[in-house]
């Protein structure tokens, strides 16, 4: 291992890592918000909305992220919509992860016993109030661990953006490797950078889990 090589080239890789963080943040916000919409659709009492939600989840979950990114980046211009490479990548990751996150939310909400809702309504709460004050706080605690998993997957999925010319960490690593033919040094550094990012997210979620523990009291 040539540590001097790593030291010299770390700034170049850090530029890529900054782009990775931007992609991951965009997709994280998109997926967290989009997931709520998906959960609302799939749990809707109106059958057409439910079907729409389920169809979205199946299409997004069952097609590879690479294909989705290619469709958005190379395919949409033919329909007159030209998104930048960055926007295409963030949108594709947000859409796919909305499907997963929506299912996580739904699982969280459905894990709360239906009698709790009935009890809240019996006490005179409005349905929205029961959701906000009784069901959501409990569900959110339960979804934190799977949500953490999903966020880490998002960080790693950002590497796919290199295929549509987004200069993120993996692309920077590939370029450095191409210039120097030093795969071990390059990809060890790249792996450690991804590990750092994922560990930071995992750590934050652990803190959140600790701060809002699940209370088993059904």
């Amino acid at each position: 291992m040539d540590f001097a090589f790593i030291k010299t080239n770390a700034p170049f890789l850090l530029d890529g890592a900054t782009m990775t963080v931007a992609l991951a943040l965009g997709a994280l916000i998109g997926a967290t918000a989009g997931g709520a919409v998906v959960a609302a659709l799939t749990m809707s009492r109106l059958a057409p909305l439910r079907w729409l939600g389920l169809a979205f989840v199946e299409v997004m979950r069952n097609t590879p992220i690479l294909v989705q990114i290619f469709v958005l980046y190379f395919g949409m211009p033919t329909l007159g919509l030209t998104l930048s490479a960055f926007a295409s990548a963030v949108l594709a990751m947000s859409l796919q992860n909305s499907a997963y996150v929506g299912e996580i939310y739904r699982a969280g909400l459905e894990s709360i016993h239906p009698r709790q809702r009935e009890a809240a309504l019996a006490l005179g709460m409005m349905p929205g109030q029961a959701l906000r004050t009784i069901l959501l706080p409990q569900a959110l605690r339960r979804v934190l661990p799977p949500l953490g998993n999903q966020f880490i997957i998002i960080i790693k999925d950002t590497s796919v953006a290199s295929t549509i010319a987004v200069a993120e960490l993996t692309q920077a690593g590939k370029l450095l490797l191409d210039r120097s033919a030093a795969p071990y040094e390059t990809f060890t550094t790249v792996a450690l950078m991804y590990l750092g990012m994922s560990a930071a997210v995992a750590g934050l979620l652990k803190v959140a889990e600790f701060r809002f523990p699940v209370r088993v009291s059904q």
């Binding site: 291992m1 980046y73 190379f74 395919g75 211009p77 033919t78 030209t82 490479a85 290199s162 295929t163 549509i164 010319a165 200069a167 692309q171 590939k174 370029l175 490797l177 191409d178 210039r179 120097s180 033919a181 030093a182 795969p183 071990y184 060890t188 792996a191 450690l192 590990l195 560990a199 995992a202 750590g203 652990k206």
Partner: protein
């Protein structure tokens, strides 16, 4: 949490140490292994027309793939005693450094930075970089590339990145993993120009039925493309280098010239006399 992270770091360090220590134990020349195995394993590209690509019949072929067969013919006596290992641009060097392939023939330009960690034979072909634009494009000359309205696409290689910065600093440069994706970008209008290896550019334009043209002149200097292998194995290197020399201007020049003509439609540089090498 902390324990989990330490375990991960230790695991990763273990993998790296394994990769690092592995080459130290290989003392024998790989040439013996190849001869004993009676087959060569060569890293080639499958997405770089006309050098290495999958043709309409699903067969991996191209100038470099067929040249790899000529190398196999010289090394083990049969052009079919070969295992073609397809890699992308970024996978080609790890393929030989990790020992998975004996050597690679994959549009690799001899580059001083690379020579520190890779061994190159003498070149089997020279190449230049051409720029392809759609027919009727406002980009008429190489000088027109240096404009903010230009989106210059290419593969994500060090030489391409350097050229984009040098010759078109005002243009927006975008880099793809494969030539195929860079071509797709040009076709879909994502890029307005594509810089590519001369062989790939000429081949693409020839197949495009007039929809695309090559700009006059080449971007930058003439490059040397060569076979690359893991350094430190003199016997294998010498054998490969000698065989390449015999093909490009020695006793097997006829076979090389025929191959060159098949893929590029013209004669290769003439066979040089012995004292002008």
């Amino acid at each position: 949490m902390f324990h989990r992270i330490s375990a991960l770091v230790l695991g990763l360090a273990g993998c790296v140490a394994g990769l690092w220590l592995a080459p130290a134990s290989a003392a024998d020349s790989r040439l013996e292994t190849i001869v004993k195995r009676d087959k060569v394993i060569v890293a080639v590209s499958s997405t770089a027309r006309p050098n290495g690509f999958i043709d309409e019949n699903g067969k991996l072929t191209g100038f470099e793939v067929e040249f790899a067969r000529l190398m196999a013919k010289a090394l083990v006596g049969d052009p079919n005693k070969i295992e073609l290992m397809t890699t992308t641009v970024d996978g080609r060097f790890p393929a030989v450094l990790s020992g998975k392939a004996d050597f690679g023939i994959s549009t690799a330009t001899i580059y001083p930075d690379r020579a520190v960690r890779l061994a190159f034979t003498r070149p089997y072909i020279d190449s230049s970089t051409l720029v392809v634009v759609p027919k009727g494009s406002p980009i008429k000359t190489l000088a027109d590339l240096d404009s903010e309205s230009v989106v210059l696409g290419s593969t994500n290689s060090a030489a391409m990145v350097d050229r984009a910065k040098l010759y078109a600093p005002k243009a927006k440069a975008i880099f793809f993993d494969t030539d195929s994706a860079a071509v797709l970008a040009l076709k879909s209008g994502r890029s307005t120009a594509w810089q590519a290896d001369s062989a790939a550019a000429n081949f693409f334009v020839g197949q495009s039925e007039g929809a695309f043209v090559v700009l006059d002149g080449s971007l930058g200097t003439i490059n040397n493309n060569a076979i690359f292998m893991k350094p430190g194995d003199f016997e294998l290197w010498l054998a490969l280098d000698t065989i390449v020399r015999e093909y490009v201007n020695g006793s097997r020049y006829g076979e090389y010239a025929a191959l060159y003509k098949t893929w590029f439609g013209k004669e290769p540089p003439p066979q040089r006399p012995f004292n002008q090498n």
